[in-house]
């Protein structure tokens, strides 16, 4: 393997089909539902069933979502947009054609930067992104029948096509992950691969290292997890190398991926060669997207992960691990931004978020959006530490309380009497008592066992039931022990 990899490299392109999160379908006012959960054919209308006389009308939100993704992927948004009919027969395709953009897609010529294997930035070009409609779903019964559910038919889809700029399964994974993240950031797609709300296809070919030939490619469909994406690409690369080294040629094919067996399988070829007979959709006038419209959509764009990351690293000075973890998910990043805007110290907020709040969210299976700890609530908690009202350990238990009860840090601290003891008097009294009660320890300490200082500290804090202001306790203990040493 290592020997062959020095002789060959893979050429990988990805095609992504992402459903767009609209209320209604691409071309009619039919409800869009979770097509995995919903009862079959409960979200259909005459248009999604391809009934005679039905006419499509373009969903404005879907167009604007597509524009947003195009802008986020650094594409040109094309002024002239046309829909065309792609003709083929399949029982899940109700009209016998799919309305799609062919010659005039909404977005072209973009790119996405991903992190390469050794941390370097690698640019993957985006060839195009276009709007189309989804098909229905088939299920196969054991009695030799198939059933058709058209809930998904007509749901708006964005098809994103990359150039074949990736060379390894890892790069493909990085690209796919980042596309998914951007779609989630833009509220265009939930990123749910298992449900098929986002679907990936990989085009894979190989060539001798150093060549820039584009050889016969194999298309792999049915990739419903990132694991499938990487393992199918690795499998195909190995297969193709074996084929070529065995003296054969790779043949063009469309394959499925069997995740259980970890191998590709041949999809039965259609009985006729594809001839989609695209032609302009006569029922839909063209869309002209002018600069004003693009500007209005651009204004609605949220800050994207890359720019957030850059800001966290340079302006907020977060460690790169923290920054990356927070940027991962837009709601988390927005929570963090809100906490910083409320006056939280970025590094401290990041620490508490990653080390404490995430653990609570995981344990209780909650997301940041339904967590009861608001950004302001966290900042208030951190302010109590800063003001030395409570110490860090107390704060951790207060956070748990906030998470479970939804009460503010201040209320919890007050009601449970958790405020720190920051007066010299009571602390000095306790230190004196401990010294008096443990003459042997004092003797050992004075005899040179310096480490025992920690033992005294622990005893004092325990007597203070954790509420002692640690800095103050340290100072007063040093003062007392110092006096003993001088004697």
């Amino acid at each position: 393997m290592s020997e062959t990899l020095t002789k060959f490299e893979a050429v990988i392109g990805l095609e992504i089909h992402a459903e767009m999160l609209t209320q209604s379908k691409m071309f009619s006012g039919c409800r869009v539902v979770d097509s995995v959960e919903a009862a079959p054919n409960s979200a259909v209308d005459p248009l999604s069933l391809g009934m005679p006389g039905m006419l499509p009308v373009i969903n404005r939100s879907a167009v604007e979502m597509a524009m947003k993704v195009g802008l986020a992927l650094n594409c040109e948004i094309n002024a002239y947009n046309a829909f065309e009919r792609k003709n083929y027969f399949y029982p899940d395709l109700p009209k016998g054609y799919q309305i799609t953009q062919y010659a005039h897609p909404v977005a072209t010529n973009g790119y996405l930067d991903i992190k390469g294997a050794s941390g370097e930035t690698k640019r993957v070009r985006i060839r195009r992104a276009h709007i189309e409609e989804d098909t229905g779903k088939l299920t196969h019964l054991s009695d030799g029948r198939s059933l058709v559910d058209y809930n998904r038919a007509g749901v708006p889809l964005l098809e994103i096509v990359s150039e074949p700029d990736m060379r390894t399964a890892e790069e493909a994974l990085a690209f796919a992950t980042k596309i998914r993240q951007i779609l989630r950031y833009l509220d265009v797609n939930t990123g749910d691969m298992e449900k098929g709300i986002i679907r990936f296809e990989a085009n894979i070919s190989i060539r001798p290292l150093g060549s820039d030939a584009l050889n016969t490619r194999v298309e792999v469909k049915n990739l419903n997890s990132f694991r499938s994406l990487t393992s199918s690409i690795e499998y195909q690369i190995a297969q193709q190398i074996e084929t070529v080294e065995g003296g054969s040629v790779v043949e063009q094919a469309t394959l499925g991926w069997d995740e259980d067996r970890k191998q590709t399988y041949s999809q039965r070829s259609k009985e006729d060669a594809h001839d989609y007979r695209y032609f302009p959709e006569p029922d839909l006038p063209p869309l002209i997207i002018g600069p004003d419209w693009i500007d209005r959509v651009r204004e609605q764009l949220v800050e994207l992960p890359d720019s957030k990351l850059r800001r966290y690293l340079t302006e907020l000075g977060l460690p790169s691990y923290d920054a990356e973890v927070i940027v991962e998910d837009r709601p988390v990043a927005e929570w963090f931004d809100a906490a910083v805007a409320a006056g939280g110290d970025p590094k401290t907020v990041a620490n508490w978020l990653i080390n404490n709040l995430f653990a609570l969210m995981n344990e209780h299976k909650q997301t940041i959006e339904n967590s009861r700890v608001s950004p302001q609530g966290m900042v208030d908690l951190l302010a109590l530490i800063e003001a030395e009202t409570i110490n860090k350990n107390t704060a951790k238990s207060v956070l748990v309380d906030m998470f479970l009860s939804g009460q503010t840090a201040k209320t919890i601290v007050e009601e449970k009497g958790l405020a720190q003891i920051s007066d010299d008097g009571p602390i000095l009294t306790i230190i004196q008592t401990i010294i008096d009660d443990n003459p042997q320890m004092v003797a050992n300490y004075l005899g040179g066992k310096d480490k025992l200082r920690g033992w005294f500290m622990g005893q004092v804090m325990r007597e203070l039931r954790g509420k002692g202001n640690p800095a103050l306790v340290n100072r007063l203990l040093d003062q007392k022990l110092g006096e003993l040493k001088k004697r």
């Binding site: 009934m51 005679p52 003709n87 007979r277 695209y278 302009p280």
Partner: protein, 496 residues
């Protein structure tokens, strides 16, 4: 029809089935006849005459009588919606909720749409009584109704002859006094040609004037619903009712609907009427030519200015039409696979079942699907469909230039009068040539109508076509109405 006796009183006030729609409307409004009586009279007449004319595929007697009774109630309350209580017929290509709507095809046999076409809901809202669904060539593909899967309609002027098509059922019904008005659809001339053959008025509105929502599609960029009536005013009332913007049709034009009845002023002084030389060609029946020339003189006498014009790409319209219409049809008709609606013919697997089911299409529909599929297929698109779209631009430019010069273009509607049933059914190309004068405006953004302008020596009606610029329906109605005022052709009725 046992209900007939219940309204014997009204029946005594019964009136001629050839009364105009506007005449009946007046009678309904002044109470001299009830909608129930008028509807019963029409239903009786359908029972008597339609076994000969075969213009209806479905007669919706029960629904019609219910609508008539409701209309009488509303008339009694003084309501005056435009078609309140008037019995009309609609082409079986318009979807009507719960009523079998089959587009003349076995592939839609028994199909009951769960919705009303936009135009059907407009008729209902205007108070019309819909007496039934009229016969059509399958999916509107034909010029004689001989390509209907169910029956061939007859021309009321001579039952050996075709009423024309594809809206032949509607034309025969209106001409035969089986409805006071009707709706057809016009993709290549399918309203104007049968109107011409049956001696009535038929209007093809500007593309986008009338919503296509719920109209079973043949060729999407050409289809348009059009009204048919025995007089120009009747046609104007129907057009008024069905026109308007519909947000469910993306090709619908969002602009106000003018008062089409008011356009029928009788005054056409100073109006410029263009005569395109390209329509007066070899193959034009001399009797048709003479009648049209007489009409031109008549219009000149009424004060119109006659101008010679040229529409140089006229001869290419029919080739363009057959490329564009069939290409669009090949996609529009792909939905008929027996999965969601329509009958299914089982085969050994899914593909064979689809193919055997689709073999339910009639021969002419198969012919056009094949042609459309071929002209879009890899390697042929540019040579056929692509060329046709470019040629269409030239044709549109022809009309634009002409309408800079004139207000209306005048031509014969058809080169001949109605032909005999069976004469052309086996020769598609000959059948296609029937539409040679009507297709041009379907490809452009013009509107047009056919108005009766004579009869040949066999007594068959001759039609005059008036073409208007985009959304100039008022102008062609005005000219046709003025012509009708000065002539008697519309007052003659067939011997049925």
């Amino acid at each position: 029809m046992s209900k007939m006796t219940e309204s014997a009183d009204d029946m005594t006030k019964s009136t001629s089935p050839f009364l105009s729609l506007t005449g009946l409307r007046a009678a309904l409004r002044d109470g001299s006849i009830s909608s129930t009586a008028a509807t019963e009279a029409i239903l009786t007449r359908i029972e008597t005459i339609d076994p000969t004319l075969r213009s209806f595929v479905t007669v919706t007697a029960e629904e019609a009588l219910a609508q008539a009774r409701a209309a009488d109630q509303r008339l009694a309350n003084g309501e005056k919606t435009p078609l309140l209580g008037v019995p009309v017929a609609i082409k079986e290509i318009l979807c009507s909720e719960g009523i079998v709507s089959q587009a003349g095809s076995k592939i839609l046999e028994g199909f009951k749409p769960p919705y009303d076409a936009y135009v059907v809901s407009k008729l209902k809202a205007a108070g019309a009584v819909i007496v039934g669904m009229t016969n059509t060539d399958e999916f509107g593909m034909g010029s004689s109704t001989e390509y209907s899967a169910f029956q061939t309609s007859r021309n009321p002027w001579n039952i050996e002859c075709t009423p024309g098509g594809s809206s032949g059922g509607s034309a025969a019904a209106v001409a035969g006094g089986l409805a006071y008005g009707a709706l057809g659809t016009d993709t290549g001339g399918s309203v104007r040609l049968p109107a011409s053959f049956c001696g009535i008025v038929g209007l093809r509105p500007t593309y986008g004037r009338v919503s296509r929502w719920g109209v079973i599609a043949y060729a999407s960029s050409l289809d348009q619903v059009g009204p048919m009536g025995r007089t120009v005013e009747d046609t104007a009332v129907m057009l008024q009712t069905i026109s308007g913007y519909d947000e469910r049709d993306s090709t619908s034009i969002e602009t106000a609907v003018p008062d089409y009845e008011a356009a029928c002023t009788g005054d056409i002084r100073g109006l410029k009427i263009g005569i395109p030389q390209e329509y007066f060609i070899e193959g034009l029946d001399p009797e048709v030519k003479a009648a049209v020339e007489a009409a031109i003189e008549q219009l000149a006498a009424l004060g119109a200015e006659i101008v010679d014009i040229s529409l140089p790409h006229t001869k290419y319209a029919l080739p363009m039409y057959y490329l564009i219409a069939t290409a669009e049809a090949s996609a529009n008709l792909a939905r008929y696979d027996g999965v969601r609606f329509g009958p299914r013919v089982p085969g050994k697997d899914v593909i064979e079942t689809t193919m055997r089911t689709r073999a339910l299409f009639g021969p002419e529909v198969k012919n056009r699907i094949m042609l459309g599929t071929f002209v879009l297929s890899a390697g042929y698109y540019d040579a056929y469909y692509g060329r046709a779209l470019k040629a269409r631009t030239l044709l549109i430019n022809d009309f634009n230039r002409a309408f800079e010069q004139v207000d209306v273009i005048l031509t014969p509607t058809s080169p001949t009068t109605a032909f005999k049933i069976g004469e052309k059914a086996d020769d598609p190309l000959q059948m296609y040539l029937t539409d040679i004068f009507t297709v041009s405006l379907n490809l452009s953004a013009s509107c047009g109508l056919s108005v009766p302008c004579g009869r040949d020596s066999a007594g068959l009606p001759i039609g005059l076509q008036l073409i208007g610029a985009t959304l100039q329906e008022e102008t062609i109605l005005r000219v046709a109405h003025a012509y009708q005022q000065a002539t008697e052709w519309h007052t003659a009725h067939p011997p049925v």
